[in-house]
Symmetry: C2
Subunit: 215 residues, 2 copies
DNA sequence: TCCTATGAGTACCGTACGGTACGGTTCGCA
DNA sequence: TGCGAACCGTACCGTACGGTACTCATAGGA
């Protein structure tokens, strides 16, 4: 069962017991299935066959549990680094398309959507610690991967831009547009999944038209 | 006091009493200030100097109140139609930039952010009726305005695209990128407000480079 | 074999919410 | 002046949650 395997790995990387990882797994399951309202301490304890007392011992309070869920999930998503190979136009485009498809995959994942909904829901009241955590553990690694790829493209003379942040913003916007928000609002994925490749290629084509080095 | 004026207008367009509009105004205020947790029936009643019984009489239940808040807020945002004037390259660009700036203004508005957070938070559990309502009353009018503008540009021979939806998606993505989501997650606006114009122009420049009719 | 730590299961407490019911008051209207 | 509708303020009810405390079972170590 590779689910348990992933749990073990993720637990190891975050200083968590295997048992605690399994509990977080159940908590994520509850969150995905029923939203924040379903994520009660009693519910988690029941679903994970542990006591509420253990939950509070391990995670402090409810927010600690939520934070641990985000960190735990983030530790399961491995962002593969761009290889240091020499880039030509074709391989750059291939890498960009792969990045775009991975991005769409991650953003449309049910766990990602549930955690984003959770963090956004908490963002109103003071702190928005969950939002920051989600940004740092979720978005930043992805941004680093894209940034490295863009930088490599520029070094290879394939891309031309002054502001890497702006170029990445354009790439992100072309790939995602308002699609992420629509998913967060509850719009059905429908048959969209099949369009990931097409959408990724279109976005990358447009991006290269904007930031490609030569005409 | 123009606040009362806006309330009166919005009430008129939605079949609501002026009093009910004022109540919704207070409810929005509560939501903006304290998030969903602050939006309790008792809290609204207290803030608006009305009774809970009246709330239930007017809006049915809590979800009816939330829906009414969305509809009420939407009715206050008037999307100006694109004028039927003849477009040249300069005026098209000006219209696009104005659209981009308006879009950034609306999305970053505190009421808009609060309502989006609310709808996203509710999206997990059944229906996601609020999400759909927010889409139809918020996003669709904006999309119509942009769609008409793009169509006019194409008719004038200034824009070239096959799929208007795709072109609009690119425009939206170039303008907004992941900025809306970051705001929803609680990131501070900071000094961004001042960059709206610059950001709008950059996005429109890129869009025209992609979809402009002639090289 | 005893001792201690860990944790499951459950009972419990205070609080707060959604929704309802009721008494008192204002206001339009005949 | 009397009547009825609308409505405010508040008390109330059932429920459910976060968090704590307590009991019992299990396992490992001296």
């Amino acid at each position: 069962m590779q689910r348990a395997e992933a749990t073990r790995e993720a637990s190891a990387g975050t200083g968590l017991t295997e048992r605690q990882g399994a509990v977080l797994e159940q908590a994520l399951r509850l969150l995905v299935d029923g939203g924040e309202r379903a994520l009660t301490t009693a519910g988690v304890a029941r679903a994970a066959n542990c006591s509420k007392e253990s939950l509070y011992k391990w995670f402090g309070d409810r927010e600690g549990l939520l934070s641990a869920m985000i960190a735990f999930q983030a530790s399961k998503v491995r962002t593969l680094d761009v290889s240091a190979e020499a880039l030509d136009a074709a391989s750059l485009k291939a890498h960009l398309v792969a990045f775009a498809r991975d991005l769409l995959d991650v953003l449309s994942g049910e766990v990602s959507l549930a955690l984003n909904r959770l963090a956004i829901g908490q963002a109103s009241r003071e702190g928005s610690r969950l939002g920051r955590l989600l940004q740092e553990r979720g978005r930043r690694p992805i941004g680093r991967r894209a940034g490295a790829l863009l930088e490599a493209g520029r070094k290879a003379g394939l891309l031309a831009f002054d502001d890497a942040e702006e170029a990445y913003g354009a790439l992100y916007g072309l790939i995602v547009s308002d699609w992420h928000l629509r998913l967060l609002l509850g719009e059905e994925t429908g048959a969209m999944k099949k369009d990931f490749s097409r959408r990724a290629e279109r976005a990358v084509d447009a991006f290269l038209k904007l930031y490609g080095a030569k005409a």
